[in-house]
Amino acid sequence: MLRKVLYIDLSKGESWIAERQDLFEDWMGGTGVGIKLLQEECPAGTDPLSPQSPIILSIGPLNGLFPVATKTVATFKSPLTGELGESYAGGRLSLALRFAGHEAVVIRGQAERPVYISINDNDVKIKDATSIWGIDAPTTGVILRDREPGVGRRSIIRIGPAGENLVRYAGVVVDTYRHFGRLGLGTVFGSKKLKALVISGTEHVDLPDPRKYREVYNRLYATTVKTDVMEKYHDIGTSVNISVLNWLKGLPTKNFQLSSFSEGEKISGEMFADNLLIRRLSCAGCPIGCVHIAALKSAFSTHHEFEVRKVSYDYEPIYSLGSNLGIDSAEGILQLIDVCERMGLDVMSAGVVLSWATEALEKGLITSADTLNVPLKWDDVEGYAKALENIVKAPNEFYSALARGVDYAAARYGGSEFAMALGKNEVSGYHTGPASIVGQLVGVRHSHLDNAGYSIDQKAAKKPMDPETMVDEIIKEDNSRGVFNSLVGCLFARGVYTEDNIIDALGAVGITKSKDDLRDLGRRIFEEKYKFKVQEGFDLAHAHIPRRFYETVSTLGKVAPETVEEMLRIYRRKRGWS
């Protein structure tokens, strides 16, 4: 397997390929290679929206080769948090990169006018995108499909108007329905005047021992489809958690003022699946098909004329644009998800920004003059849809502030005690207890998926856990996920990829690793990421925790600030940072 990095410089209009065997040997691939390339490419204090700020896409040694190793990681400096930007997407991107023969792509510089990049094997072209600048993300995909080769084996990733207009939490839409959602990769694309990347390839992978490969593949495949390790994702999908967390008092509602939603049944995963789900899709190389697509049918006249939009949904958007905004209709949530899809906004950040703004308006921190008379009130779908469009257009100072994230908006208008961000990243949909709060705060990208604190809380709900045990669990996940994210697998399949299975899978493609090697790698990756975070100003000791977390009852009851402080103390000590 060739382990190459493709470099593209948009300022110079050049591209070249470098073999970086050492880099991949030391850091595996995916997020390990991503953080090292970020350190190489991004000097301390770089403005994330300047030409010096890089975009790094990387895959790992199992992508395309084993079931559910379907993700690509994007590494960059986040324009939302000002420190580590790291986001994962599925779809067909990792496969396209594999068969194009590039395990990492580094994009530098800034184009003079809008461009898109077409990568077909080793052929890289930077092409004019002026005529599609301003076009929504789905339509951009439709247009580029007709222009570029590689039907059925390519990946098209693109931004919408949110990225172009530098909304700090703009995402990149991947192959429709999948996204580099978090931390503003789309914003960095926009700053580079980069509308899209189209990637396809015709390479194949020769295997050192096809028989052994088939044996390991078959075993992992069987584990994936035949056991209950991934059952949750087969049926209702991630949205099954709406009912579960609502019952557990862990479902953030109306900007975390409540942790259960009285109308929760109307927006449950079961409700979506029974009434709106029309099909399920899969990322290339995954037999699960967790991508749930709903049909949103709405009449536009009284003569039985309808618009039908196909919208993908998951747990997080139903939380952020649903319960968190007090919205009690599944169709209403789909309508808002669709706006974010078209604009290219991160659904999670967008929802949290709107929930803060709603409360800020209620409390008189802002006025209807600020909102331009858009009714920001719970359950007002039309008002929220309009506000999302205004965030992208930024017609006044208020919407410009919203476009910079909830932390910025609260610093400007007040209300930081209910501006639900940790590490400046708008939080995910869990108010399960202290492990969720601490996990997102200490996590390298301030995501619930860094260490799944929400899951630790739920375990503690069944069998009480002391703060130290919780911290140990967080650290274990922090590190082991660094390894899995270097491969780069879908975290939904983390139950399939035990350490033993990872070692077998790597062995089948000619990479020998021991358990100690993997654990060492996980720890080193974490440390390198923290080096970058600290260099860019992240300070765990002074990170802000909104008071709201302590006011609203969680799955584990009211969280005491002292518990969180104690866990943070233990965490710093165990990391050797005291």
Binding site: V151, Y221, V225
Partner: protein
């Protein structure tokens, strides 16, 4: 789930056909002669995982490749659209073999089409002859052809694909065979 040894040996010798079938149909056999073919039973259930394509290239060629797969999952308007499953239909009167100018693709008496790699010039007439698009030239300019081995079926999570038995040609019941 792995394809058996016999099948692997068959692939290695280039004798593409169905290993469990006799080369010549025995006129005196008591049971009607059957052959197995791949059937696209429920294309609308496809989720686009491409598991079948990987199974095909993995089994037939020992590589990980989309290009080396005989079965193809195509998108129509991206993944928002419906998937199209392109697979060999095991035609009774196979146009690919008829179009072959050198005899590299040969229809055996039992109806299976075998490929003789050494005779192939890579002219691509077979590819043009198949309206379905089920046979195509690979990077080496040799046709990538389905051998109806069923490897893909085992890796379809949604029963899009199945194997069916049809009467072998030369058998008295051949004319009653189903068409899909």
């Amino acid at each position: 789930m792995a394809v058996d040894e016999k099948m692997e040996a068959d692939i290695k010798t280039g004798a593409i056909g169905l290993p469990e079938e006799g080369v010549e149909p025995a006129a005196s056999s008591r049971k009607p002669k059957k052959r197995r073919r791949l059937k696209v039973a429920h294309p609308e259930r496809c989720i686009g995982c491409l598991g079948c394509m990987f199974a095909c290239s993995r089994t037939r060629t020992g590589t990980v490749s989309l290009q080396n797969s005989a079965i193809k999952i195509q998108t129509q308007g991206g993944i928002e659209g419906d998937f199209r499953v392109v697979a060999c239909r095991a035609c009774r009167d196979p146009p690919c073999a008829r179009a072959c100018t050198t005899g590299a693709l040969e229809k055996r008496p039992d109806g299976c089409v075998v490929f003789h790699k050494d005779l192939c010039t890579g002219c691509g007439e077979c590819e043009k002859a198949c309206l379905v698009g089920a046979i195509s030239l690979g990077k080496e300019k040799k046709p990538i052809k389905c051998i109806h081995c069923g490897a893909c079926v085992n890796f379809c999570p949604h029963d899009v694909l199945t194997m069916e038995e049809i009467p072998a040609e030369g058998d008295e019941n051949a004319a009653k065979g189903s068409v899909h």
